[in-house]
Symmetry: C2
């Protein structure tokens, strides 16, 4: 197997995880969570979202969280930004990077953003121009890149069309999301083959949900295709409220187990990462669904001897 | 990706699953379970075990179950056989195939069988000779082929040594078990590369546990190496009582989702398979851990539209 030597984990738990949890998490606990993650060796954390609190009340404290976290150098602290109003607040709060988002499938885009894809693009373009003017990197999430809960299988051509638009705008990196976790490695390979005909592999990160247990298989195939950036969420927290059947993101600790086992460096320390998972488990008052935490609960340690 | 067009699923749930469950399952329910599995399109079912009931009291009704199930043609009904006494009972009960078992690691073999590897081999040889005299196929399980709970990583050389012995005896097929579910695709690839230098791929089946979420990734890599036979257990039931941290086998329905998605034929019907899973869930009085059943519980259907 040809595999990259180093991979960057992009931790989306504080945003993509917590926005989907019903339990109220206090602002100070969110700050503590990000601080624990900063200690684990991660160098990218999506901290919060500037989507209007009417839609995501769980993250209404975005400014407070971003302003109070203890920042470590070499860590990018990002936030989700839906529009210019969100960007203004995000810049004031001191984000390092802005994440914009849309879907490859028309109907998921409409359910998630309440706009058609064509209506969404100029709004995102404004954000990209604004973020670039402030010297910030911009990440573009594309959801439903393999399957859509309303349209079924999504052909790579649709993903390419949206990718073209986002990269033309000046987006620095595209995160390709299997939002409902339906993908299998053959589909991942086909999608990436098509995208990599047109763009360099560095432009892409993969964002898998483990709804059907295929996340690590899809990640392995992505690694073989040269991908070196993966989104994940501590404890497997998260999902998409507008995508029926979307359970969690792939758990950061399960992905780390895979990468550690294959000798791929991430810089992330498992025990320190699990400290953050244990912390949020306690605050959520429930066991998270990751395999690593199930092992820890059974044995008291993540290590197998 | 080069993938096989057809794969055989070897259902081990009635034996490997139920031997590890604490809830008492009535003999008539075990019979009903096997009958439901027979209706799903599977063509291999490991029905029970002839290990002495002192060790596996859950399967003390092996003879009754084997004699009462409704046999379908084209399905192989197998049972685990530890020694000549077990083989005699198994043959009387009408097995189609005998499965023998040992470990690649010395200490796991001793914990599991209470004998050294050297002491185990002549006992297995007797069984193979006896089964062959009765015109029965013999399957050989090798446990801990990647990791051992007592010895850590197991080098392919140790697996080769045991494989050599079993194939010399006349064993028809080897099932390579990642008993504690520690393996990652690079290790699977290395193991199979070494084995396939010496033996044809048809000699091997893979038996993965999903303890760390890597089972479908390991299966995908095995498929790419040419493997066409996989063990799995409905609902992900089972594990190994002597292997700390071994949770379940990979769930048959999750494996089927992967194979269906990649266009690999198995002959197994998902809805009929899930009928069997629902039946055993009810008898066990608990939710099984498979992803497909979690989706069914959330949505009422395994299909994503």
């Amino acid at each position: 197997m040809q595999l990259p030597k180093h991979v960057t984990l992009k931790e989306v738990g504080p945003r993509d995880g917590l926005q989907n949890e019903k339990v109220h998490i206090a602002t100070e606990d969110k700050i503590q969570l990000v601080n624990l993650l900063s200690q684990s060796g991660l160098n990218y954390i999506e901290v919060t979202s500037f989507v209007h609190p009417k839609w995501i009340p769980q993250l209404a404290d975005a400014v407070e969280v971003l302003q109070a976290i203890k920042r470590e150098k070499d860590i990018t602290y990002a936030a989700l930004v839906p529009n210019m109003r969100g960007l203004e607040r995000a810049l004031q709060a001191g984000i390092d990077e802005a994440s914009i988002f849309m879907s490859a499938s028309e109907s998921h885009n409409q359910k998630n953003i309440n706009k058609t894809i064509l209506e969404t693009l100029p709004i995102l373009k404004e954000v990209v121009i604004g973020a670039k003017a402030a010297n910030k990197h911009v990440r573009g999430y594309i959801s439903t890149v393999i399957g859509c809960p309303y349209e079924g299988y999504i052909h790579p051509e649709k993903v390419l069309q949206v990718t073209d638009k986002l990269l033309e705008m000046g987006v620095d990196e595209i995160s390709l999301g299997d939002t409902i976790g339906v993908g299998v490695p053959t589909q991942v390979e086909y999608l990436l083959e098509e995208l990599l005909k047109r763009y360099p592999v560095e432009k892409f990160a993969m964002h898998f949900h483990d709804t059907r247990g295929t996340a690590l298989a899809n990640i392995t195939k992505s690694l073989e295709m040269g991908i070196t950036k993966f989104d994940s969420s501590l404890g497997g927290l998260g999902g998409c409220p507008y995508a029926k059947g979307a359970t969690g993101n792939v758990a950061t600790e399960d992905l780390l187990y895979l990468l550690d086992g294959m000798g791929i460096a991430t810089g992330v320390n498992m025990e320190k990462l699990l400290d953050a998972v244990r912390f949020i488990e306690q605050k959520l008052g429930k066991d998270v669904a990751s395999k690593q935490m199930a092992i820890v609960r059974n044995e008291g340690s993540a290590n197998v001897t």
